[in-house]
């Protein structure tokens, strides 16, 4: 058994673009759930909208910055549409509406009605929209190796996308760090605890919830761009299961913490890679075939999530004391 290879691949997950994309999506969800208590069950919808917004406007010939703005604008409009009718109601309504709306985005994206724009179920190929991002790189083309990790500098699954991805994650962490300590973040936490109490203190709860939904959704849209940069826009790969992975990552790392989503994403993808690779090496194909191992990996994720919620509900970085107080 080749442990060096397995460990190299596992460590590669630590800084993979997908890990960064999920970390960023979880940071957005953390603003919704960890700070404000909003149950957004459709973060994948925000990500998919961001991915479509970016890819379609790039294909239409728009520059990089404009395409990113289109993605953010799409998520903002989506958040407003979801928020206006539901944020005045009890929290569960938002959960139902977001999960349905994210599915609507996916189903509209894969329907043949808009094949010219979205490519229907086969999606948009990466080569169609990666150009402007890769051209923005200041580095010369080619490949570059850091120890055992060797990737293209600019093309597709590159060092460039890793650098930009983690820089954006760092910026988002800084943003959350500033907000969580600010009076604005304090109002959000108050809303998470008891909306009516905050209302009785003269704060416009509806407006704060809307700001939170838009901000977290916009971060989700940028995460969607990061997610599709090293691959293609595939509506079916950005469905409900993606939302649930983002939730797992957030709860694993610890909601309402600054670095919880980042740590959660790194551990999630690294452990998943470790489990799958080890099983492929050790279990003979007569017992479990390769695609069965793939699915078995997800079963383990599910069990791990259950154990986590039961034995460490505050996540890895969360404050146990804070969570222990649950009585209202």
């Amino acid at each position: 058994m080749d442990w060096t290879r397995i460990l190299t691949l596992v460590v590669a997950e630590f800084f993979a673009p997908t890990t960064a994309a999920y970390a960023l999506a979880a940071i957005g969800l953390n603003i919704h759930f960890g700070l404000t208590g909003l149950l957004n069950m459709g973060q994948a919808g925000f990500m998919l909208l961001g991915a479509y917004g970016f890819a379609i406007s790039t294909i239409a010939g728009w520059p990089l910055w404009a395409a990113v703005l289109v993605a953010i604008a799409a998520a903002t409009v989506f958040a407003l549409i979801l928020g206006i009718p539901t944020l005045k109601l009890r929290g569960d309504y938002l959960a139902i509406v977001t999960i349905a709306a994210a599915e609507i985005v996916r189903l509209v994206g894969r329907s043949t009605t808009f094949t010219d724009l979205t490519g229907a179920s086969s999606g948009l190929r990466g080569n169609q929209y990666k150009g402007s991002f890769q051209d923005a790189s200041p580095f010369p083309d080619g490949t570059w190796a850091l120890g055992p990790f060797e990737y293209a500098v600019n093309a597709s699954n590159s060092w460039w996308v890793r650098l930009v991805g983690w820089a954006v994650v760092a910026l988002a962490c800084l943003l959350v760090w500033l907000l969580i300590r600010s009076p604005w973040g304090r109002v959000l936490k108050g809303i998470r605890e008891d909306e009516d109490a905050v209302r009785s203190l003269g704060k416009n709860v509806y407006s704060y919830k809307m700001q939170s939904l838009v901000l977290g959704g916009a971060i989700g849209a940028v995460a969607g761009i990061l997610y599709v940069l090293p691959r293609a826009v595939q509506p079916d790969s950005m469905g409900r299961s993606m939302t649930f992975f983002v939730w797992t990552i957030l709860l694993l790392g610890g909601a309402a913490t600054v670095f919880g989503p980042v740590l959660g994403s790194i551990i999630f993808w690294a452990v998943l890679a470790l489990v799958k690779l080890t099983m492929r090496e050790t279990i003979p194909t007569t017992v479990l075939r390769s695609e069965q191992i793939e699915q078995f990996g997800w079963i383990i994720v599910g069990v791990a999530l259950m154990l986590l919620i039961i034995f460490r509900p505050q996540g890895i970085l969360g404050d146990k004391k804070e969570l222990a107080i649950h009585a209202h």
Binding site: W184, A197, S200, E322
Partner: protein, 319 residues
């Protein structure tokens, strides 16, 4: 001594009493200087008229008690006046401003702040954060300003100083950095009241401030409420504890089945037969926990072997 707080309290109470002396003791009586005037406020739940108030005026600077049996509509009226519930019909003004149909947050910003019957401490926030949240005009509560700490840090220091002063007044300063959820029920009541005061409201609405509070804490709460009046704050509160109502209120409004049935100073209202029938009961003046209420025969039934004369309380037994 004018600096003595008790004499200040006496002075303020006397001033309010003088102002209310000529007010008629009838439901909906006009007050000389009303801060809150409500007309035809109704709230139906299905076929039930939870609130059906023709006219109500609350005197500025006074402590007004709202009493009545369970289900009389006191809390519903509170919810309506503070914007937490929408009336079926009705209008009211606060300091001359129409507040009917205005959302709760704007009612609070207008200077009418409330507390809740079931205490709403923000459990997973610290005591000091609870207090800071009550403050007004903090520019850092705006999303963009929040990102630039120098723009709000000075105001934050002022707020913290104000909060610490209030916490000291309410004897919560030792709990400053504890989670609010770790406080006792009574301390949470105190915290909620202190938090409401962060906004320096002109009128504070307390929904059963004494429920679940131990006697020693009740004493200090009473002191705080009187101190509020002495500072010029108008207080309207719902309470079932008649000793407290008698002790601190300047004016009492009685509700039953959604309507106001009596108004007046505490002594006069508590002698009102309608109030006694609807709410207080014939024995409201006697302490049900007093051994003296048990008559000799009952006592002998319970403890036939003991000498009744030697039992404490028998001397006052015939009052």
């Amino acid at each position: 001594m004018p600096t003595e707080p008790t004499s200040a309290t006496v002075d303020h109470r006397a001033a309010v009493e003088a102002a209310l002396r000529d007010v008629e003791h009838v439901p909906g009586a006009a007050k000389p200087d009303p801060i809150l005037v409500a007309d035809d406020v109704r709230r139906h739940f299905g076929g039930v008229n939870a609130v059906d108030v023709d006219h109500l005026e609350v005197q500025r600077g006074a402590i007004t008690a709202l009493i009545g049996p369970n289900g009389a509509g006191k809390t519903t009226l509170f919810n309506l006046l503070t914007g937490f519930d929408k009336p079926s019909s009705g209008r009211w003004t606060f300091e001359g401003r129409t507040l009917g149909g205005v959302p709760a947050a704007r009612v609070a910003r207008a200077g009418m702040v409330r507390t809740f019957q079931l205490t709403k401490a923000l459990n997973r926030m610290t005591v000091i954060e609870n207090m800071r949240l009550g403050a007004v005009s903090q520019p850092g509560e705006n999303l963009l300003t929040a990102l630039v700490p120098p723009l709000w840090r000075r105001r934050e220091e002022e707020i913290t100083a104000q909060a610490e002063e209030l916490l000291a007044r309410f004897k919560l300063d030792t709990k400053r950095d504890d989670f609010a959820g770790s406080l006792s029920g009574g301390q949470r009541k105190l915290l909620e009241m202190a938090r409401a005061l962060m906004a320096t409201p002109t009128m504070i609405m307390l929904d059963e401030p004494m429920a679940g509070v131990n006697p020693a804490l009740t004493q200090s709460l009473l002191g705080h409420i009187q101190a509020l009046r002495d500072d010029g704050t108008t207080v309207l509160f719902v309470e079932h504890d008649m000793h407290m109502v008698r002790h601190i209120s300047d004016w009492v409004v009685v509700m039953t089945e959604g309507r106001i049935v009596a108004e007046g100073p505490p002594e006069s209202v508590m002698g009102n037969p309608a109030v006694i029938d609807a709410y207080l009961g014939a024995h409201h003046d006697t302490d049900l926990g007093d051994d003296a209420l048990l008559d000799e025969a009952a006592l002998e039934d319970v403890a036939p072997d003991q000498d009744a004369a030697g039992r404490p309380g028998t001397e006052e037994g015939t009052r």
